[in-house]
Amino acid sequence: MNQTFNPASIHQAIVEQQKAQDRKKMIVNGVLLLLLMAAPFVMYPVFLMKILCFALFAVAFNLLFGFTGLLSFGHAAFLASGGYTTGYLLSNFSGLTTELGILAGTATATAMGLVFALLSIRRQGIYFAMVTLALAQLVFFFFVQSEFTGGEDGMHGIPRGELFGLINLEDNLNMYYFVLAVFIACYLLVQRIVSSPYGQILKAIKQNEPRAVSLGYNVDRYKILAFVISAALAGLAGSMKSVVFQLASLNDAHWHMSGEVILMTLVGGMGTLLGPVVGATFVVNVEYQLSQGPLRDWVDPILGGIFVLTVLAFRSGIVGELQKFMRKNLG
């Protein structure tokens, strides 16, 4: 910091840096996109779709937790309500095209998100987490009780149908590119939100809510909007998942699922854009690979160990730590 103070040159430097970063980002994103396009030819498409659905779920969760600082312990409710609604509609109304079923599922989750938000938004910290947990438990109770969900047997044989009545989604590749397109659109949307003025206000709320209030922002409205968007995207993830797997089950509504999405976000790096995607990929893979291998009886303790290790040693998550590392050594 022993440079002479020269606002113009500093500004210049910042702009340069920004440009260089943007270029880097463009390249990284381009490569990622190519990889994702090619992935189903080397990996199993249904499994990739599962990763994408959970990645979207984690991205949605992270918008609320990582960027707004609100820890919801009830996001499973949105995942499940999206899935059940879509599943129910597609199974019972054969005229419905797939995208309409998914939209309806998303809409249900959005409405539920609004209710959750209105009831919980004024609560702080752990109380917020607990109200969302309580509401999600009530939703779980409703799903257990309802005939249409099939209870613990689950809802099975949901038809994938045809996208816009044209593209046959029974084909795994078609289905994959559809899921990928939705995922990318949502990812870009979140990226846009985060970098927009609105996103800046969310970050300000996260850092110091009283200050945001004193600056004259209607903090509650911003938080509610963030919550509703997050719920909508989580519901969309659930809707797509039910179409991909052609089933919806109580597992998605259980509070363990709300815990799992926290793990994904934390492991990947909360408050970063790519973090939840990396985290979801990591957790889904770890769980899946472990359940197949010689350690298959030890999945839960290993997941617990990852939790502990992340909190103790890599609090910024995979992406966060990488960013730190790059800044230190390459920046």
């Binding site: 257990v144 613990e152 099975h156 797997f245 597992n251 769980e287 359940s291 999945v299």
Partner: protein, 403 residues
């Protein structure tokens, strides 16, 4: 149409068999995938020990079938239908698995059976209780082997009513399994001239049953029926014993109890409870001999599910050997044509809906005085003939049955 086609192909396949048998076992390997809950709620009734039973069967068969090797892969189902779907899809599409065995949680079994139907592979469900698996969810690609809710209700309820337990109070786990069981019990009790005087639906899972037991006591019913499973049932029985349900003259009837549950309760707490089981380790020389070997492997006595996994795997391998094929329809047809006579079942047969029907047994938990050791827990009171025990095909909603 497709059914017809499948039958035709299998007929053609069996015809071909006579000439060049070995060629029909794909890759010269029979691959079995074992999928079960290895770490959660249902771990003990199948789980890692079920895998041990499966491997025992393969070893007893000789490790090879018609010269082809037998391979086993296994996975934890995480009690999650979507994790299980991913696993089984990979198994059948990439790893060329011919048979999926184990299968415990009903949501998992149903999800897996759909994938097997899509890919025309075979599955044998040994752990699930839901009778819907061979009813509305039946497929030509799976077999339900050990038991289901229908005979559980049938066996226990009809026997208890016939012994004079006319009025019933039901404690029902409030989810699909409990509801199904409750429906079946109600039907059986009423058909035998008894009545249901009350019932309570408790959340799943429930730790403290004292409130429900109190309501059951207040009802004055002759019999308190437990239409639940696992920890719910053991907790309910413990509480019933604590509150002196049997001392006050009521009978406890558990509809689904596994040997592992009764072992956890012990003879002192569980004595006198009547239950229906598909198999018990201490029935005859054959069952004891196998159970001793099983215990050497695992350290515990087998449940009916463990025995069923062993038996069904042998049946499957025999069918593969007989037909020289690992094609799902060929093997299933052969299995349907072959009566099952082994240490697990006598005159068992697989119906067209995929239900393996065999004699069931009404058992009573021994008193501490009668019980020689920690695993000497049941006395068999009565054999329930297969035709009486299982849902008749005339009531079936299965698409494979012409009704």
């Amino acid at each position: 149409m497709t059914m017809m086609k499948k039958l035709l192909t299998s007929a053609v396949a069996s015809a071909l068999m006579a000439t060049g048998a070995q060629a029909a076992i794909s890759d010269n390997t029979v691959k079995i995938g074992y999928l079960a809950d290895m770490s959660g709620t249902y771990r003990d009734l199948a789980g890692p020990n079920g895998l041990a039973a499966l491997e025992m069967a393969i070893k007893d068969f000789g490790g090879k079938v018609n010269g082809a090797k037998i391979e086993v892969v296994s996975a934890d189902d995480r009690n999650s239908p979507d994790t299980s779907s991913s696993t089984v899809r990979r198994w059948v599409e990439n790893d060329k698995v011919d048979l999926v065995a184990g299968l415990v949680a009903s949501s998992v079994s149903i999800a897996v059976s759909k994938i097997l139907e899509e890919n025309d592979r075979l599955g044998i469900v040994s752990g699930s209780a839901a009778s819907s698996i061979t009813n509305e969810h039946c497929t030509p690609n799976h077999i339900h082997y050990v038991y289901d809710t229908y005979p559980l209700a049938n066996g226990t309820a009809s026997a208890v009513v016939k012994e004079g337990g006319k009025s019933w109070y039901l404690l029902t786990a409030d989810y699909a399994f409990g509801h199904a069981l409750e429906g079946d019990v109600t039907r059986v009790v009423e058909a035998n001239g008894g009545e249901i005087v009350g019932s309570v639906r408790h959340p799943f899972p429930t730790q403290d049953f004292s409130s429900f037991i109190l309501q059951a006591q207040a009802s004055g019913a002759d019999v308190v029926g437990l239409a639940n499973a696992g920890a719910d049932t053991t907790n309910a029985i413990t509480t019933a014993s604590e509150f002196g349900v049997t001392q006050s003259g009521q009978t406890l009837a558990a509809l689904l109890l596994f040997l592992t549950d009764v072992h956890a309760l012990g003879a002192e707490t569980a004595q006198g409870i009547q239950l229906t089981t598909g198999w018990y380790w201490d029935m005859n020389e054959e069952t004891r001999e196998w159970s001793d070997r099983f215990m050497k492997e695992t350290g515990v006595r087998p449940t009916m599910v463990h025995a069923g996994i062993y038996s069904s795997t042998l049946q499957y391998l025999n069918a593969v050997a007989a037909t020289g094929s690992d094609d799902a329809q060929t093997v299933r047809k052969q299995m349907m044509e072959t009566p099952i006579n082994d240490m697990f079942a006598k005159n068992g047969r697989i119906r067209e809906d995929g239900r393996m029907v065999h004699d069931m047994f009404l058992a009573e938990v021994k008193t501490p005085a009668e019980s020689r050791d920690e695993w000497d827990l049941y006395k068999i009171l009565r054999t329930i003939p297969a035709d009486e025990a299982y849902r008749p095909l005339s009531e079936s909603k299965c698409k494979l049955v012409n009704n």
